[in-house]
C-alpha cells in the first residue's frame, strides 16, 4: 500500500511540475533573472505548494501517519557549512540549466538527449557527494 501511495504521489508531483511550467527551463531561469524580463510564475508555484503542505504539518500534531509509526523528526536547528556550501553549488547548477532534481526527472520522457545527460551528470554528482561531505567534516575538525 505504501508503494502505491508513493507511485500516486510521484505522479501527482510530476503533473504539478508539468502544469505549473516548472519543467520549462526558461520559466525557471526567467524567475531567477531579476534584471531580465522577470517571470513571476515560480513564486506562485512555491506559494501554491507551501499552503497545502503547511496545513499538512499542522495536521501532524498529536497524530500518527496512516501507514507509518511516526512523522519525521523536527528539523535540526543547526545550519552548518555543508548546508550553505551545498545549497550554493546547487543554486549555481540550477541557474545554469534551469533544472532542479524534480523537474529533471519529470521531463525525462520528453527532455531529449540533453535531459538524459543532465540526469546522468546529476547522479554522478550524487555519487561523489558523500566523499566530499566527509572532507568538509574533516576540515571542520582541522579548523
Amino acid at each position: 500500500m505504501r508503494i502505491l501511495i508513493a507511485l500516486f504521489v510521484g505522479a501527482l508531483f510530476g503533473l504539478g511540475l508539468l502544469i505549473s511550467g516548472m519543467t520549462d527551463t526558461t520559466k525557471v531561469q526567467g524567475w531567477l533573472d531579476i534584471f531580465g524580463d522577470w517571470d513571476p510564475t515560480l513564486a506562485f508555484v512555491m506559494g501554491g505548494a507551501i499552503l497545502p503542505m503547511a496545513l499538512a504539518w499542522h495536521l501532524t500534531k498529536g497524530r500518527q501517519p496512516v501507514l507509518a509509526k511516526a512523522f519525521p523528526a523536527p528539523p535540526s536547528p543547526s545550519v552548518g557549512k555543508k548546508l550553505v556550501i551545498g545549497s550554493t553549488l546547487f543554486g549555481m547548477g540550477w541557474g545554469l540549466s534551469g533544472l532542479c532534481p524534480g523537474p529533471a526527472i519529470a521531463s525525462l520522457s520528453f527532455g531529449g538527449v540533453g535531459g538524459v545527460a543532465f540526469v546522468t551528470a546529476m547522479i554522478a554528482g550524487m555519487l561523489v557527494a558523500p566523499k566530499l561531505g566527509h572532507r568538509l567534516d574533516e576540515m571542520t575538525v582541522a579548523v
Binding site: 508503494i3 500518527q64 496512516v66 532542479c100 525525462l108
Partner: protein, 141 residues
C-alpha cells in the same frame, strides 16, 4: 501571461498536495533529491521499492500528459558542457545540503524550518547571481 500564474498556482497546489499525502500517509518528506540520492548512494536501501515507485510515477504521469498535449519542451540549452557542469553541481549540492527545491523549499519552509529557509535563500541567491553572470555578463546561457 496571466494564465501562467494561474497554472503556476494550480500546479503548485498539486505539488503541495502530493507532499502532504506522502507526509500524512507514509510519514515521509517529499524531497526529490533525497529520494533519488538514497537510491544512488545506497543509504535508502531499506525502502527502495517506495523510492522507485515514486520516481516511476514522476516520470510516467507527465510523460503521458505531455504526449496527450502533443509534446512538451524543456527548452534546455544545447550546450552540453553547461548541461554536464550544471548536472554535477545540482547532484553534489543537493546531497551536501541534504535537500533541494522540494525538500528544503516546499517541505522545509512550510514547517518554518531554519535549515529549509537558509538553504532556499542560498540556492535562490546563487541561482540569481549565476544567471546574472552567465547570461548578462558572459552571454553563455
Amino acid at each position: 501571461m496571466q494564465s501562467d500564474w494561474i497554472m503556476g498556482l494550480l500546479g503548485g497546489g498539486l505539488i503541495g498536495t502530493a507532499a502532504a499525502i506522502l507526509l500524512l500517509v507514509n510519514g515521509r518528506i517529499m524531497g526529490a533529491s533525497g529520494i533519488i540520492g538514497g537510491l544512488v548512494d545506497g543509504s535508502g536501501r531499506s525502502d527502495w521499492t517506495e523510492r522507485v515507485a515514486f520516481l516511476g510515477g514522476l516520470i510516467i504521469a507527465p510523460g503521458i500528459v505531455a504526449l496527450m498535449m502533443g509534446g512538451a519542451n524543456t527548452q534546455l540549452t544545447n550546450n552540453f558542457a553547461v548541461i554536464i557542469v550544471a548536472g554535477l553541481l545540482v547532484g553534489v549540492g543537493t546531497r551536501l545540503a541534504n535537500g533541494c527545491t522540494s525538500g528544503h523549499g516546499v517541505c522545509g519552509i512550510s514547517r518554518l524550518s531554519l535549515r529549509g529557509i537558509v538553504a532556499t535563500v542560498f540556492y535562490i541567491g546563487a541561482g540569481g547571481l549565476t544567471v546574472i553572470v552567465f547570461k548578462h555578463a558572459l552571454g553563455v546561457i
